[in-house]
Symmetry: C2
Subunit: 310 residues, 2 copies
């Protein structure tokens, strides 16, 4: 198949491109390189199956050119302001929502019938218990979560209006090679600059499920193949979770340091952060996919990869 991947040079997007090319698909990767990096997809250049285009998805002229010169069977839409701590109204609007709105219009016009969309746990807001895909109410507390929910809303309408088929994956915290942000990246950056001290945002008790990017991409491709409804919505994750305090301990241990660890306090890292959540994963499990790595193992592996030890 011929597949468009938006945000394809980013952390997760580049792994999606790797896998799609490996599976024999022809991939056009669009990325504005605001968060993505061209070297993330450098390895695909010689494959004969891969084209990189530097463009902003909201740039209608650039996008029209891409759609005019390619006939896509499917689109993986990962372009977004994935650096959720930015939490800026207008950046999140433009990068996370407007990209989706503009893209959907192109998919409609050029009759691309399959959309794989990367959503997030943040759409649920701050909600107790194991989150199920059919849960309500949905009251995101971050702009990232709000614009991802807004994107899900317009995707649902397109499914009904234009016979689009959609796979919506609600990601947990994802880790692995090519991280560009997040708690592991942040700790390692701080410790590299100043090995004697580690500042941890919040009280360290924030606890979330972490999934390794290799397993995440595996789950996406699996569900894309196996689930065949009009609108296929899945939480993705491992059954277990990891505290920020444990991540700090693992990073410190793997780096071989003994810093003074200082907590900034409060129950969350920043305004808009959901300090704890857990997924009900019965839907993806019932489809036949289950994470092999636990949350702690995924974090440990990602730290080792980042240090070149794995």
């Amino acid at each position: 198949m011929k597949i468009l991947v938006t945000g394809g040079a980013g952390f997760i997007g580049s792994h999606v491109c790797d896998r799609l090319v490996k599976d024999g698909h022809a991939v056009v990767c669009v990325d504005d390189l605001s968060l993505g990096r061209e070297e993330n997809v450098q390895q695909l250049r010689g494959s004969g199956k891969f084209l990189f285009v530097k463009a902003d998805v909201t740039d209608a002229k650039a996008m029209r050119k891409i759609f005019e010169t390619n006939s896509f069977d499917a689109c993986f839409h990962l372009a977004a302001n994935s650096d959720i701590m930015v939490n800026d109204l207008n950046i999140d609007y433009r990068k996370t929502f407007l990209t989706t709105h503009v893209l959907l219009d192109f998919l409609k016009s050029y009759r691309v019938k399959q959309l794989i969309f990367t959503s997030t746990s943040a759409i649920y807001g701050e909600k107790a218990g194991a989150l199920r895909e059919d849960d309500g109410p949905l009251r995101p507390i971050s702009f990232y979560g709000a614009f991802k929910l807004a994107s899900e809303a317009i995707i649902a309408a397109h499914v009904h209006q234009h016979g689009l088929q959609a796979w919506v994956f609600r990601f947990p915290n994802v880790v692995g090679r090519r991280l560009t942000h997040g708690v592991i990246y942040d700790f390692m950056r701080k410790l590299t600059l100043r090995p004697s001290e580690l500042e941890v945002l919040g009280d360290g008790k924030q606890e979330k499920p972490y999934l390794h990017v290799s397993e995440l991409v595996d789950a996406m491709l699996f569900a894309w193949k196996k689930a065949n409804g009009d609108s296929n919505v899945f939480n993705l994750g491992a059954d277990s979770s990891t505290t920020v305090k444990s991540i700090a301990a693992m990073v410190v241990q793997e780096m071989g340091l003994k810093p003074k660890v200082r907590y900034t306090g409060g129950d969350r890292g920043w305004k808009g952060d959901v300090p704890k959540f857990a997924y009900d994963l019965s839907r993806i499990h019932a489809l036949g996919w289950k994470a092999k790595m636990g949350s702690n193992d995924a974090v440990r592996l990602a730290i080792k990869e980042q240090l070149g030890k794995a």
Copy 2:
């Protein structure tokens, strides 16, 4: 209080202005007059409590001027593409969503702490059973519903981020004086042009709760005063509902006509229409408000008003 009403010259917006002025508030009404009409608020001109500004809510320059010259305590946001049969991706995006996004940025910048937002049953999509405010999943099938849900999503984030207090009212079908569209308006227009025939979209079995605009505004003002959470979400409606077939019969009867009624067939009026829904109203009832008129009575009264008989 000093209150901004967007879409204030529209069908429902003008009734909101009427009531706010009657209750002693100072009102600034903003409307681009694309669906609204200046004569809807003509009666308020001499009150000394009312200012009409012709402007598009997405026109940042015009809006800045309004916010610079007024210090608002609250905002009723009704500007939207309320003509839901239009169902045009880009019109709905601009009029229903972008108005909300731009407005929220102004409310944040000018520290306006209360937002009263008019949402819709369409955010629930096509869902069986009595709809509850906390229900999921939310999969709107029209662009109108999608962009209203998208609006609710970003309102939720603003509530958490900037201490905005929000009242979100999910409207049923609303009828009464100054209707600009909808089934009653449509039937009367058709019969005026051609009294011998009435074309009904769908099979006539579409069945929804209708609420008279006077009761709707009453419920909004009641809940705005009584409910004091950060995020107050309410379905509004009457317990009963009315079929499109009955509405046709009532219109024909009140107009004293005997047309041949022809159904276009199919279970819905247009792609994106939700043919049947019912609300669970226990939340607004528990707060102390209940509709006095049944759905049929509301429809009958609206027809009579439209004909100048009430």
